[in-house]
Each structure stands twice: as C-alpha cells, then as structure tokens.
Symmetry: C2
Subunit: 249 residues, 2 copies
Amino acid sequence: MFDAKTPPLIPMLQKLQLWVSLNEIEQEAVLALPHAIKTVQASTYIVKEGDRATHCCLLISGYVFRSKILVDGSRSILSFHMQGDVVDLQNALLGTSDHNVQTLTPATVALIPREAIIALAHKYPNIALAMWHDTLIDASIFREWIANTGRRNALARLAHLLCEFALRSEIAGIGKRTAYELPMTQEQLGDASGLTGVHVNRTLQAMQAEGLIARTKRTVVVVDWTKLARAADFNADYLHLRTETNLAA
Amino acid sequence: MFDAKTPPLIPMLQKLQLWVSLNEIEQEAVLALPHAIKTVQASTYIVKEGDRATHCCLLISGYVFRSKILVDGSRSILSFHMQGDVVDLQNALLGTSDHNVQTLTPATVALIPREAIIALAHKYPNIALAMWHDTLIDASIFREWIANTGRRNALARLAHLLCEFALRSEIAGIGKRTAYELPMTQEQLGDASGLTGVHVNRTLQAMQAEGLIARTKRTVVVVDWTKLARAADFNADYLHLRTETNLAA
DNA sequence: CGCCCATTTGACAGCTTTCAAATCGCGTGG
DNA sequence: CCACGCGATTTGAAAGCTGTCAAATGGGCG
C-alpha cells in the first residue's frame, strides 16, 4: 500500500488500525511522524522511572518489559512487549515516567517525540481515539495482572502468563499459540507474577509433569491448550481482540 | 462560573481541567453531555463483566469499586473510586466491559452514553486529550497495584493502600490525609491487596500496635504519616498529581 | 577449556491461609 | 428501652504454599 523502502512506522499504523480505521490522509500522517530508529542490546534501559517523559517507543523488533524497583531492591515487572507494540504511549501525556522500560533481548525501536504525538492527536481525532484505545487495552491487561497476582496460585499465575504470551505472539506474527518463544529468564517470570525464580522453576516443572506444556530452552510448546487455559482460568476477553480473531479460550 | 442549579457534570469538568485547560466553549460542551442521574444503594452493580459497554459513570457521591470474579469464586478488587472520579471512561471505546463496577456505599452517579463521549472527543481534541489523560492515570495506579500485590508483604500492601486512599480523599475534598473515612470491609481490603480478610485484620492491628494508624469504626487516623509512607514504600509520583499540590511522601 | 549466568535441587523457615468459634456493632422489632 | 439477628471484626490453632539460602548442574560464549 505504501511504496518504496517500507516506512518504519508501518507496524504502528497497523496497530492503530486494529482499533479505528483511518483514511489515507490519516495513515500518511501517522507514517510521517518524526522518529529516531535505535538498535540496542539486551538489558538496556530505554526509559527510567522518574525520567521526564520525552518520547514514546514503537518496538520494531525484539522484546522489552516495563518494571518498577521497590525500596528493598525487589523488582516488579508490569508488562512484556513484543514486535509492533507501542510502548509507553502514555508518555505523550504524562509528564514523568512512573516506571522503567528495559530491553529483554536486543531490540530495534523507533523513538517518537511526545510533542509530535500530541500534535497528531490534536489534528486528527480519529488517530487520537485509536491511540487512546491502545492505551486502554494496556490498562485492561494491567487489571488482569492485578487479579492474576492477587488471587491465583503459582501454577495458575504462570499458566495465565503463558496463555497471554501465546496469544499475543500469535497476533504479532512471531509464533503460534501452541509453540512460541518465551524470551525471559525464570527470575523475570517471577518478577512478573509475584513469585521467586526458584518457585517459578518448580512450578514450570509441575506444569510439564501435568502435561500442560513442554519446554526446550526458551521455547514453550503448549501440549494441551484447553487444559492450560483452564488451569490458568484464562479468558481472552481482557485482551479486547476483535471478534473475528476468535481467540477465545 | 456557571449559573443556576449547578449542573451535575461540574465534577467531571473539574477533573478534566486538572489535566488540560479548556476554553469556555469546551467547558460548556462537557457540561452539556447527555446523562442520567441515578441514586443506588450499597452493593449494587453498575456494570457487570461481559456487559456491552453502553455508558461511562461519573461518581457524584459515595464510593464504588471495580472487580473481577475468578472461576474459583474469589474476587479481586482492581480499584476504588470516590466523589468526582469518572469511572470506566474506557467503556467509551472498548466494546465490552472486562470487569464489574459495584457500589461500596449508597451512591449517586451520572451515566453518560458512550456515543456522546466519542462524539465529544471527536469534536474537541482538547477534551479528548483530557479524557485520555484521565485514563492514563488510572493505568498508572493499576501498575502500582501490580507492584503492590506482587512484591510487598501484608503490612506494606495495606499501608500503601491507606496512603493512596488518604491522598485521594484529600484531593477529592472528603477528608484529610491524616484522617479520613475508609468505607470498605476488611474482606474488601483483602480482595484489593491479595490477602484474606482475616489477615487484613491481624495486619491492621499490627499497624496500630506500631503506632502507624488508629481506627474507630471505618475512620482511619494516620498517627505518623512519614512512618506510614515509609512502611508502605509509598511515593505519590504514580498518582501524577500536579506538582503544585506537593503531596510527596 | 574455562567462566558466567541460568536452571535445578534440597532442606527448612515463615508468612498467609484455613476453618471455626467467639465477640462486637447496630438496626429492627417487641 | 431491651432483646434479637445478622454481618463484620477478632481470635486461635494448625496446615500449606512460597520464600530463603546454598550448593550443584548445565549451557553458551570467548
């Protein structure tokens, strides 16, 4: 649809059009957003808690996560992101970042100045709505995570995390829900589920013993999706996927 | 500024103007939103998970909370809301509600049709930004809650909840940070912090014994704010209050 | 081949949960 | 004005899930 050297912001445009259809002028406006492409290695910070918000970050390839560090030094992982996700779109409006954004793997990102996002939203209501929509789904996932860590046991928590990552990987086009890459360490899985790395290890083994999943390195194979989803109390509604996608558990 | 019988949506307007200043036309547009005032008793559902999203809810008086019920029957409380909060603004864009909204106390709400919100956002970019901003802060609070239940012990979790409620009550003008009404039961506090009601009870007593708080019925007196905030690892930044408010812990 | 980080494993401690039962608070009815 | 009833708060004792602390094993990379 767009010529030449495939503009880097295409993934962002695709993402936004999942929620709101944009006309040609709007599409071009999105692609014309000023941005800086950056390639960074694993474990590097893209944004730090307390930073003045200056830009949003479109993840072009690789994985990143958002986190908070507590006074006792423990870490809480708030979300994982993959190819095509617009991370920290909130930075466009909130003045200060309330959490870190860090790469999980080597990654390529496009950094978009906050002012450009605001100006775009101002000029094109449809685009504003689409971006707003995107952040609302973000929030929905946060809500599910609150319930996940607050009220589920270790096995269900991890199973839920695996189900979510499975579906999102499939949608992002980097895996199937029954076989995908899980790029984080067990300690990071623990930080994301309110568990310790040690217990994540034992629980993953239990899931394997129960025939829910199989693992090789950082690849997960879901042996029985229905069983896994049931163990996780997983219901994909909170991801607010379009109904056509039909990804119900 | 506006004449006569004080329009019911004034609290919403004030809320939005915390984030973005609106001109007179925009202000009037907000106040002119169609809405239905409803008074409901305690414990009644305003929105149920799975409901088709039809309206947003401005809380005029009373307290409400958002929750999810898991398959095993346990409940997770996702947020508490008080006077002036616009609850479930997300319903304007997301098609289906992914959680319940329920009153904690008798309450008066103004229900605003989703289409009206969208139309307003379409017509007035500034208002759209303000509403977007509001939901972003919502999301920021969710993130803090993930860290809270995921990585803090019982005492810190509750202390954190108390600090947040204290500040928000103060801002809403219904209490002081050192003395305010905490309208929920201990079981509900547990559902909001990933604990059981029984343990909430013991922990609250411990906080009292340590001279952090004092309680009479549902009223909390913060004996030593600094100590409480420290015990909670509380940093108000995530509430994204305007700096003038100067509410740092 | 050696180093370093991630994964495993074991034993034990500990924070929270469970399950009851006892109290308390308070609005209702006699 | 006092008794009754029901939900919320307290309290106890015991079980259990998850955390802690080390140490061993494994795998990838220079």
